[in-house]
Structure formats: C-alpha cells, structure tokens
C-alpha cells in the first residue's frame, strides 16, 4: 500500500502537471531507494493528515509554490534584488493570508524530497544530525512551518519531546496535524510565538534545536542565532538551513556566500561541525545567480574556544 503513494504522486504529476515532471523525476533519480523511503514517510503522514485527496491537493500546491519560486528567481535575475525588504511587507502580503499560507506550507512540505537538492539536505538531516541525538532528547523547533522536520525527529527518537514555535496560525495547525498523523502528537507542543522572542524561555534547556529555512525571512538574521545559542545546552546540537541567492516572494535577507552563515554561527558561540550547500540540478538560462540551500549542523560551545 505504502509503495503506491509515491507512484500515485508521480502519475498525478505526469498527467496534471507535465511541466513539473522532469524536475520531480530528477529528484527520484538521484538516490532512488532513499528517495522512496523519505517520500513514502512524508506522504504517509500527509495522507493521514489531509485525507484521500490530500496528496493531489498538495501536489497542486507544490507546483504553484515552485512556479512562485522560479518566477521570483527570474525577476531577481533581472533586478538584482529580492522583491521585499521588510518583514512587515511580507506579513501583510503573504503570512496573514490564511488560505494562501496553507497551500504554501503544503507545497513546501513536498519540496523536502521533490526538489533533488532538498533530498540531499533531508539525507544529511537523517544520517548526520538525528543520529547524534539522544533517544530522549528535549527538542525545540523554531518556525516549524509544516512541522515535518521536527516530526521526523520524534519518529526516530522514540522518547524525545518537542516544543515548536511559529508566528503563523496556519503553520501551528498543519504541524499539529502532521505530528498526530505520525503518531507523535502526545510528545509535541506547538505554540504561536515569534521566534525572536524565545530568549524568554529557560536558557540551556534544549538538547537540540531545529530551524529550517527561517533565516532568510528575517531582517536581522543574527538575532535568530542568538536565540539558538540561548536555548541550547552546552554541547547541544542544532540543524539550521538557509537560502542563498535564492529568491522567493517572502525572502528578505540576501545571503550571497556560504561563509556568511558560518560566520554568524561562530559569532554566537556555535561550532560548525558540518555543512552542505546544495543547488538545483538546472538553473534559468544565462543565470547570474546560483540558488542554493545550505544546511549546517552546529554544536554549542562550552566556552569561547571549546
């Protein structure tokens, strides 16, 4: 039964969204077995959370999201700058629009494996980050969005508990539904909260922090790393991802070099253990900018040098 989920998704893409078929097939071809394992896990949760037509509706949302991203990238190529500069602009145009936000989040949920370079990041997360964490880890997820990353941790770490904080009510609702679908609803709490206010939580309270693709949505990214550092126990781990020269209607802060993210981590007492900078297999013709998604596994130092 489960093996059919990804096959059904592929068939739907080919029939209803033939322009998207090439990219999706590329994602599957990179690591076919591992792709199938991740895809079926995510799709199983999705189907339970959204019902019979949930996968098809989410594929529609994925195609819309990918078009948004590609169009934003084309406009960025022409203008040399991201469309928005302030969080307030993005909040008014996007985050406050519930229906659009729901589709946006379900679309992003599928990028975790339907974008080939995000499959690479998913594998780093599973094989190199989750494998470092204790079974009973106390986890904090900052801006979980659809919640998939944190829920994945809960399914791997059988006694772990998670607190998730997101500014979007849509995100809270979707993250809860995914968590329940994965059978981990009793080990997670999701609260509506601005990530940058989390210094009000107890310091050094988390074994691990997960923060996926938030940093480029902020006006001052360094504030986020201060929060991560505050929350982590000494020697605790964080998995952080961010976008570089990758336009999206709600991206504000334009990172150009991988070293920028490494430097922010180091400036906030976080030792960079591993990084992965992944890019799409294909770009727009004559592109000046290479859109990348970067993942970092970091560890909280116990003092300035150790």
């Amino acid at each position: 039964m489960k093996g059919e989920l990804i096959d059904n998704l592929m068939a739907y893409v080919h029939t209803r969204h033939p322009r998207s078929a090439r990219g999706v097939e590329e994602a599957r071809a990179v690591y076919p077995e591992r792709f199938n394992a991740i895809a079926n896990m995510f799709l199983g949760w999705l189907q339970k959370a959204r019902g019979e037509r949930g996968i098809e509706n989410s594929v529609d949302a994925f195609v819309q999201f990918t078009t948004d991203v590609n169009l934003a990238q084309a406009r960025y190529e022409a203008s040399g700058r991201y469309q928005h500069k302030s969080f307030a602009e993005v909040y008014a145009d996007h985050y406050s629009q519930k229906e659009a936000m729901d589709d946006y989040l379900w679309g992003i949920f599928l990028t975790n494996f339907l974008w080939a370079h995000h499959t690479e990041i998913s594998l780093l997360y599973r094989d190199r980050f989750l494998s470092k964490l204790p079974t009973a880890a106390e986890l904090v997820e900052i801006a979980p969005g659809h919640g998939g990353w944190g829920v994945w941790a809960l399914t791997v770490l059988s006694q772990a508990r998670l607190k998730g904080f997101d500014i979007s009510p849509s995100a809270i609702e979707i993250a809860r539904s995914i968590c329940r679908a994965a059978g981990a609803g009793d080990r997670a709490v999701y609260l509506e909260q601005n990530a940058l206010n989390l210094t009000m939580l107890s310091p050094a309270s988390a074994d691990a922090v997960i923060c996926s693709f938030l940093v480029e949505h902020l006006e001052q990214p360094s504030q986020l790393f201060a929060v991560i550092s505050h929350l982590l126990k000494p020697k605790g781990y964080a998995f952080v991802t961010g976008a570089l020269t990758a336009a999206q209607v709600d991206h504000i802060y334009e990172f150009r070099y991988e070293s920028e993210l490494v430097k922010i981590c180091e400036d906030h007492g976080l030792r960079v253990l591993e990084t992965l900078s992944a890019n799409p297999r294909r770009t727009l013709p004559k592109a000046r900018f290479l859109p990348r998604s970067m993942a970092l596994i970091v560890q909280k130092r116990i003092n300035d040098l150790f």
Partner: protein
C-alpha cells in the same frame, strides 16, 4: 488573436532555440521538447517583456496550453 499567436511563435522559437517550431492554441508542454517548469518561467518572462504585461504566478502556474497564454496576453494588453 492571430497577431498575438504570430508574435508568440517567434518567442517560442527563440526560447526553445528551434526555428521550425509551429504552435497552435492546442499546443501543450507535452508537444514541445524541453518545455518544463524552468523553461515555462523563461518563456513567460520573455512574453511579459515582449508584450509589456505582467502576470501573477497563479495565472502562470495554471496555464494549460498556448491558447490560454494567448487569452492571458489579450487580457493583459486590453487593460
């Protein structure tokens, strides 16, 4: 509509680098090699520049064939 289709044919030939390409309102992505999601956006940006219009990404994502693109251009150039 015919003049839009003629201009559009030139744009398609340029974007897909095929001087022999013939399109009709019924033409879809399945009929043209290389018309994937990335080339779709490249095509749209070229169309926007040529006709002096700008489309929403929702309209762009929903286009099913050349005929719908012609209608969208006609709508954009009327307003």
């Amino acid at each position: 509509m015919e003049s839009i289709l003629e201009r559009l044919t030139e744009i398609f030939r340029e974007v897909f680098e095929n001087d022999e390409l013939v399109i009709s309102p019924q033409t879809t992505a399945k009929d043209i090699e290389g018309w994937d999601s990335l080339m779709h956006v490249t095509l749209i940006v070229n169309v926007e520049n040529a006709f002096g219009v700008r489309f929403s990404s929702t309209k762009v994502a929903g286009l099913k064939n050349v005929g719908e693109l012609v209608d969208l251009i006609a709508e954009g150039t009327r307003s």
